[in-house]
Symmetry: C2
Subunit: 200 residues, 2 copies
Amino acid sequence: MKLYSGYINELIDELAALPGIGNKSAQRLAFYIIGMSDERVNKLSGSIVQAKQHVHYCKVCQNLTDTEICPICSDPSRDPSTIMVVEHPQDLAAYEKTGKYKGLYHVLHGSISPMLGVGPDDLRIKELLQRLGPESRVKEVIIATNSDLEGETTAMYLSKLIKLLGVKTTRIASGVPVGGDLENIDEMTLLRALDGRTEI
Amino acid sequence: MKLYSGYINELIDELAALPGIGNKSAQRLAFYIIGMSDERVNKLSGSIVQAKQHVHYCKVCQNLTDTEICPICSDPSRDPSTIMVVEHPQDLAAYEKTGKYKGLYHVLHGSISPMLGVGPDDLRIKELLQRLGPESRVKEVIIATNSDLEGETTAMYLSKLIKLLGVKTTRIASGVPVGGDLENIDEMTLLRALDGRTEI
């Protein structure tokens, strides 16, 4: 005998297919959703459809936006001579929250990962190179991919390509996080911090 | 300047309002959903609306179902003389998976919690008592609420009411879980296991 109605099973399956949601969480979420008011259920499902319908990639930087060119790319007060390359829109958001970076961005939507079968062609690299063509005003590309194996691989790959175009390429520093306790920091990070030491 | 499009913010807010999903997870989920195919997005939002539309509480046991009376209540092979009272549909599902319990169920949809402002009237207790009226064939009510403070309070409250109706009331055993290592089990559970010891 089927334990749940087909409608519940379908909802559980759909929720469990989302990242970071296991079967038990999906079940709990499904029961919660069924117990919500009609109004809240409609708002939830509506917001999913609306976001998908209206949000797409910015033609220039590939960040998510509901306009053709995103607010950052179309902001005349941003410095067009610098592009920071990040893996995901979340990373861009993290840097924007600091309020200190005034250049533009480029979102790759991933990193090169032979393990996961993600190659350079699966990322928005072609779109980045197009921004660095002969008529470009870009003087520096800051590579801010994650400092894990995939992020480093991507940074190396990009830096080789971009240098060929004659544009200065930099990499964000890797080291001990501010407020970090040396005792609790992994060996690799400690060695990176040592290698990257600067005179004070 | 707004960091994300309003559509993204709305989706993040709706997702973050679900239980167990924090702001960061909601952001990650929202970006993931926007990156899904149109077909998958429609299936997800459709399954939410469909489940809410078709699934309701069984008239008898209050479990979730898409028929008026749920498959368990309408199954003639189940023993109608026993009702197991559980807090949530998930708990019923857990007992059904054992395949050993052949009686009926009653789902309270919560437990009495003065802290959270949940009183007896907020639970499906009235519906349980209706099933135990003079013409009822029920001989035993097994109270299988959780063994936390709220579950125990609810069990005590129910047992007093049900005994007044002259129906035998039992409580599932509390003790050391099967495969449990005594060393890692909390004091309260150890004492419960001692109190509940049976002759072998």
